[in-house]
Amino acid sequence: MKKRLYLELENCIGCRSCLAACTQCGGHEERNRNYVYDVNPLVNRQTMPLMCLHCENPACARSCPAQAIQIHESGAVLSALVEKCIGCQNCTIACPYGIPKFDTEQNLMYKCDLCIDRTKDGIPPMCASVCPSNTLQWLTDEEIENKKKQFNLDNGKWVTSMPYLEGETNVKVNLPGILQGITKLY
């Protein structure tokens, strides 16, 4: 059954285990490929991960003059092919979220490939495997549908979608505020 990366931003505790794990998938040259931000560090300890959302129509791939960024049949937007990437950084500029990173020494772009060696066989990516707070989860569409029923945000949106995002994404993101609609037990 197809599973997706699903993000519940409310849960993030800022441990950056996802970044540590990103270096460990075996195919990432021990470099982490995503971000965790302190949302307002002088005020509180809120943090949030910024992961590649694996857009259905990815700006990074569209902007690549060398067609170095391939899309896997699972929907994962892969890292640039080493032999094709010309190091122009169009992808980094084009990505609305600034995801693709750039290796200045090798003149190559690199980005999250959703641990394709794992996810192509149904094994969760490293980040979602280790995430201690369940900010990052690896779920079936049915499980994501259940999340949608469970959480009602007061803005009527339960996940990021248009107009917040540039387009539809394979990764589903749940905005902070999931607890707003919860009925308390007592």
Partner: protein, 722 residues
């Protein structure tokens, strides 16, 4: 073991030419399951793979866990014994030369014998730790008493778990850190969490904790800082450091006032309620608020939420325990569960977040100055007799009780203790009042240190013995829940390093105690003797064989025999471990912290951990990812307080107390009380916040008051006027 809703059947990724060794993390009491990736050609550990099938943590790991494997083949590993001939270089990394094990052992035996013949058996001491297996902890206690014959052994649990132990012993008559398995946490209705920065110190508890809120339950957090868990809590009780006892009494007052008592439970299963009711009468919300700085309505609300909950768990950690009234704090918060009867059933109970990997098991089997295996007392002649039979010595050979960890430094300073065998600990960072502790270490006639890196404490040693990491040996550990689990060996020891149990056997033989030690040839041999030594004690591990641990995904103690499956939930029969079978509700008068703020030192200093480092940082500071994320300590200051001192974010400032001073970068955040500053304690030398902390000890647990003392800030540079 029952698998809960978080458990998913997931295959692991197998890379070519690799095998996976199932084990657990080397760090905190969570003991997250992990697989170590081992290259089958080089037989070296090369990485980590989640252990999805471990029922407690289902593959999850914090950043320390993910990178833990990098310790094993780290460039800083000690590969050979080191000897330093020039004692004037103590306290530095200089002057060490490589030596053979024989030369090191010969020197140690010669020096130990010299000291003991000149100054008596008790001139030697052992200072150990609990980030090692039960087998090693057990043998260290035996080594001190039998091979060295000294009364002076104690361990770093005095800086970690001993107040929880003391509180539980007084309230329940037994000290198991959690009365229920962690797999109950997400099913409870209310979590009351005091003095635990859970998201940073025990991150893999968080998916269960957040789930309580998703189900509509409540989280109440008690902390002077708005930690990540406090930020999302339903109620944050932002108390002044060191005032927990007042808060707990205030909540108990309100639980009584608002009628949340379980009278039947109190009558049948507890003692001490009437005295306690009398004592807490004065702790009205207003009076409690005056003592703690928490708004009165928050105190009432906490009592309502906890009192109304069908099921609730009271949890706490070092924040309440590392005080000179830590034991009282533990018993006072435990009172909440006892007067409402929320204990002795699934989904309700009391738990402490065990700090060290084997904080639970390591304190049960004889490393503590007055304890013997199975939680037996060295002052009880019956207990001594039982252990002597296993140890093959006569009761008159058993030393008397010694003193606690910090008090050993006092004896070193006054030369009662002249020799030290330090292992699995780094007190030159982790002990309070460092200026004194470092002086005491320097004052020793002879010190040996066993470690796998050259720690700040090893810098004071005459001989350093290279120990193995957790991944190069096997044995059991008792995790945060009281579940005995198995650590497996993934790689042969690097260089000439050896496991501590083997070092102790070989030293004991050279000290003429081969009869008591020579039969211990493998870790399993030690395990078998250890289970036997614990048999009949209340921390009975006899039935927890390695096979059973493997088959059942761990065994909860007590586990008395082959057919006993262990005890995940304590007190289900409502029988507590005091002789009359009842728990004790404790009437505990409030005492302020040992050192209150004054005009000269107007701020409250509190210390703690960050998610990227473990204990003294001797391990984690060497891991590149963790170092990059948190390379140096800092002082957290509220913006209003910083403005008063004209301090800016990231400016370097001097922080000082009556005992010492250090210079830190200011980290401005509104997520801390205005009267409180915080510094993480994982750093050594001149960066160590323990240069400033106070050694006020709890009268029962002998735990120092790391969590509260009076401090002052000062600018170190005059900034240009803009």
């Amino acid at each position: 073991m029952q698998r809960d809703k978080f458990f998913k059947e997931i295959e692991n990724l197998n890379h070519p030419n690799e095998k996976l060794i199932k084990t657990h993390c080397s760090y905190c009491g969570m003991q997250c399951g992990m697989n170590l990736r081992v290259n089958t050609q080089t037989n070296k550990i090369i990485g980590v793979e989640p252990r999805y099938d471990w029922p407690v943590t289902v593959g999850k790991m914090c950043p320390k866990g993910v990178t833990a494997y990098q310790q094993t083949n780290h460039k800083d590993r000690l590969l050979k014994p080191l000897i330093r001939d020039d004692a004037s270089l103590k306290g530095t990394t200089e002057g060490f030369r490589e030596a053979s094990w024989d030369e090191a052992y010969d020197l140690i035996v010669k020096k130990f014998k010299e000291l003991q013949s000149k100054y008596g058996k008790d001139s030697l001491s052992v200072f150990s730790g609990v980030s090692m297996t039960n087998e090693k902890c057990y043998l260290t206690g035996k080594f001190a008493r039998v091979a060295l014959g000294t009364r002076y052994i104690d361990y770093n649990g005095r800086f970690c778990m001993s107040s929880a132990a003391g509180g539980f012993l007084r309230s329940f008559g037994v000290d198991r850190g959690s009365t229920l398995p962690w797999t109950d946490i997400h099913e409870t209705d209310c979590l009351f969490i005091a003095g635990s920065n859970t998201a940073e110190c025990h991150p893999t508890s968080m998916f269960r904790i957040w789930n309580v809120q998703e189900r509509g339950g409540y989280i109440i957090v008690v902390d002077p800082r708005e930690t990540p868990i406090a930020r999302r809590a339903d109620l944050h009780l932002d108390l002044q450091p060191g005032t927990d006892l007042a808060l707990a009494n205030g909540i108990v007052n309100q639980l009584i006032e608002l009628g949340y008592l379980d009278d039947e439970f109190i009558n049948k299963h507890t003692n001490g309620f009437e005295e306690t009711r009398e004592l807490v009468k004065e702790f009205t919300p207003e009076y409690t608020s005056m003592l703690t700085g928490v708004a009165p309505e928050k105190i009432v609300r906490a009592a309502e939420l906890y009192g109304k909950a069908p099921n609730a768990i009271v949890m706490f950690a070092r924040g309440v325990e590392q005080q000179h009234k830590g034991v009282d704090n533990v018993s006072a918060y435990t009172n909440m569960a006892l007067i409402t009867g929320k204990i002795g059933r699934p989904k309700s109970g009391v738990a402490t977040f065990t700090g060290q990997g084997n904080g639970q098991g390591g304190r049960e089997h004889g490393q503590k100055s007055d304890l013997l295996p199975g939680y037996r007392k060295i002052t009880n002649p019956e207990h001594v007799k039982e252990v002597c039979q296993v140890w093959n010595i006569t009761p008159d050979e058993m030393p008397k009780p010694g003193v606690s960890a910090y008090e050993m430094f006092e004896l070193m300073e006054e030369k009662t203790i002249r020799g030290l065998y330090l292992l699995c600990s780094n007190p030159a960072v982790s002990a309070p009042n460092q200026n004194f502790v470092r002086k005491a270490l320097k004052n020793l006639d002879f010190m040996i240190c066993s470690d796998f890196y050259l720690s700040e404490s090893a810098e004071f040693a005459d001989v350093i013995l290279p120990a193995v990491t957790w991944s190069e040996d096997e044995g059991t550990v008792t995790n945060i829940e009281g579940r005995i689990i198995k650590i497996n060996k993934a790689q042969e020891p690097v260089g000439e390093s050896k496991p501590d149990w083997q070092i102790q056997v070989q030293l004991a033989e050279r000290l003429g105690r081969g009869k008591q030690f020579s039969h211990l040839k493998t870790a399993r041999d030690v395990a078998d003797e250890f289970r036997l030594a614990s048999k009949g004690g209340y921390a009975d591990y006899y039935g927890a064989t390695w096979d059973k641990i493997e088959k059942q995904d761990g065994v909860f103690w007590p586990c008395k025999d082959e057919n006993d499956k262990g005890t995940p939930h304590m007190f289900l029969d409502k029988k507590f471990y005091h002789p009359d079978g009842k728990a004790k509700i404790c009437a505990l008068p409030y005492r302020p912290p040992a050192e209150e703020p004054c005009e000269k030192y107007p701020l409250r200093l509190t210390t703690g951990r960050v998610v990227y480092h473990y204990l003294s940082g001797n391990q984690t500071r060497r891991i590149p990812f963790l170092h990059d994320m948190c390379p140096e300590p800092y002082v957290e200051v509220h913006p209003e307080t910083a403005a008063k001192y004209y301090m800016e974010h990231e400016e370097r400032v001097r922080l000082y107390t009556r005992r010492g001073e250090a210079v830190y970068k200011v980290k401005i955040t509104e997520a801390i009380r205005k009267d409180t500053v915080f510094v993480p304690y994982h750093f050594g030398h001149e960066d160590s916040i323990n240069l400033l902390t106070i050694a006020a000890l709890d009268p029962i647990s002998r735990m120092p008051e790391f969590k509260a003392c009076a401090a002052q800030l000062e600018k170190v540079e005059i900034k240009k006027v803009q």
